[in-house]
Symmetry: C2
Subunit: 363 residues, 2 copies
């Protein structure tokens, strides 16, 4: 599957998950219903063959707001073709929720042509009782953005290569389109060695009140990265130390963090596999192994309820008095998607008895 197909499929997945949560029943193979049976087949902007125009003509015959009928004979008239071209519809697919996804690969390059086609398409979709319209504009066609906004489209989200706009047609129904991504996900690594020393760093960029503080290595996980591998990567990048992921021992949920988005921060216990420290000069000023008692005694840690609690949890875990969550790779038949389910080991579970995370010794 090439990148374009993936992109299109994920848009459809987005539509599907807007109302339903993926875990709970969406399929992996959404249907692209081009609704041929209802005379609504859209054609491409550069379509100039008679067949396409004829199909278009058939469709238009029922379009009251365009106010005229054309047939194959009329296509011989070049002037008429030209004026008809301006009235073409955007190429688009129906989605499973009564909405429409405009084909971003077949957009006209000329903003005037786009204006005309977008207006016609909106009339057509409105007439057909369509609901949510998805319009993805590649960065190479950024001149179309102001046109879409003028026609009433709203920004939905953007990535490096495109901006996605939406239009909700039904005036009497609340907008049911799914939202944009809402969270950043961060990880912090609690890496303790056999000598009860914890791996700590000092950051290059920090506020004056935090200057001199030794803290756990932390960072955001990358696109499509697992929490368990993100924690190992961040520790390696910042300190050069190799480690093995053990458990998520707690997580923190905070709001209005970056770009008004929310933040989920997973505190992970890791087991060191190497000792030698090599710091990342871009982000980190210093790193070292610090006795746990000394780490906890730092005024900023000692005086902070949340940090104190996190350390207590890590210590309780080391005494087998706490159960963290460990990842288990599972595929659900509901969406066929491989994913990681984080949980404690359930009693009587033969498969995982050897890995019982509440009783397992780390060292």
């Amino acid at each position: 599957m090439d990148s374009v197909s993936i992109s299109e499929v994920t848009v459809f997945r987005g539509l599907m998950h807007g109302i339903r949560q993926p875990f709970s029943g969406a399929t992996i193979s959404p249907k692209f219903c081009s609704s041929k049976g209802e005379g609504s087949r859209a054609i491409t902007s550069n379509a100039s063959n008679t067949k396409s125009q004829f199909v278009y003509g058939e469709s238009l015959a029922t379009t009251a707001d365009l106010g005229y009928k054309m047939n194959a004979v009329n296509l011989k008239n070049r002037t008429l073709i030209s004026s008809v071209k301006e009235k073409l519809l955007l190429d688009a697919y129906d989605d499973e929720y009564g909405g429409v996804v405009v084909d971003h690969e077949k957009l006209p390059s000329n903003p005037n042509a786009f204006t005309s086609m977008l207006r016609n398409s909106l009339s057509d979709w409105r007439r057909k009782g369509k609901k949510g319209i998805w319009l993805k504009l590649p960065v190479e066609q950024s001149e179309l953005v102001p046109v879409a906004v003028k026609e009433g489209f709203e920004y939905h989200h953007a990535e490096k290569g495109y901006v996605m706009l939406t239009y909700w047609i039904p005036e009497e129904e609340p907008c049911m389109l799914p939202g944009n991504a809402s969270h950043q996900v961060g990880v912090g690594g609690f890496v303790l060695n056999r000598h009860k020393e914890v791996l700590v760093v000092q950051e290059k960029y920090c506020t004056s009140s935090n200057a001199g503080l030794w803290k756990l290595p932390t960072g955001f996980i990358n696109e499509s990265e697992e929490i368990f591998s993100g924690a190992v990567r961040e520790v390696k990048e910042e300190t050069g130390v190799d480690s093995e992921f053990l458990e998520v021992i707690a997580f923190r949920h905070a709001h209005n963090v970056a770009f008004e988005k929310s933040d989920l921060f997973f505190i992970c216990m890791l087991k060191p596999l190497s000792d030698k420290i090599i710091i990342d000069n871009l982000e980190i000023k210093a790193a070292k192994w610090m006795p746990l008692v000394e780490f906890v005694e730092q005024p900023m840690i000692k005086g902070d309820k949340m940090f104190k609690r996190v350390i207590e949890i890590c210590e309780a875990r080391l005494r087998h008095r706490y159960c963290g969550l460990s990842p288990h790779r599972l595929v659900s038949t509901f969406d066929g998607r491989p994913s990681s389910l984080y949980y404690n080991v359930v009693d009587g579970d033969d498969n995982d008895a050897s890995q019982s995370n509440c009783t397992a010794d780390f060292y």
Copy 2:
């Protein structure tokens, strides 16, 4: 604090958190350094008073790539003022990472003026060794989007009211700008009553293979909503049943779900506070209380590893053989932010002994 200020502050927080994770040391009060001392004070696009022009003149005097010097006397010449106006810089603030945030409230409305100001500003920022440039374009000024793209800006993210573009100046350094939000967060509610009946729904929009399946109520959490309140809300919206949040018992991490983003799905145990079912007609076809044994016997559940495991965990929890994570509201002095830390109860914790989630009876 009004919405504009919040928006600006969160952009700054975004910059701060790009490299550092909020939990780990960023402040709540980022400094807006307007760098008055270095002759770089930008002026607004509609500035027409002599003082502003003069400040601009001083700044330009050191700008080699603009190639001329102006002074207060020259400002009497209307033609020159006009040509100078086109060469004005965008109003902007320095950030703490050597970058610049353009003031979106003082953008020129004319695309030509914007083109000229953006080019001058880029030269100016480059000359001063600036790194990441943040350009937020409100939806009302969408005509400026193609201009910025033509000058080399990239889309970073978008919300209903704006699109954010970025430009990374240093060619020899990797881009250190923080990413866009990466995750959607969903919740599923396992609501069991005293009669060992589980609250289930049938969805209006589902694939044919899932038709007839009775499943747990699920949904995405809203912007800035807590997981614990989102789960209670979803159950209430879909079924009309009031409930009390007990624990997150597991979570699932999956990738490339909606719009190529990742998905974190939290499975929550809830205690029902009412019985009567009133369904949400927009999303739900039917809802009912279903004996747990009957729920588990559904072929789609029975045949699915992930769902089977989730049910096992819920059952183990009811037998006190499993520890879920419960939310505790805590403020960290690191960022002064109230947030929820999800964890088991730690042994010997006097404050929370009564709420020990591994031993507490739900019913």
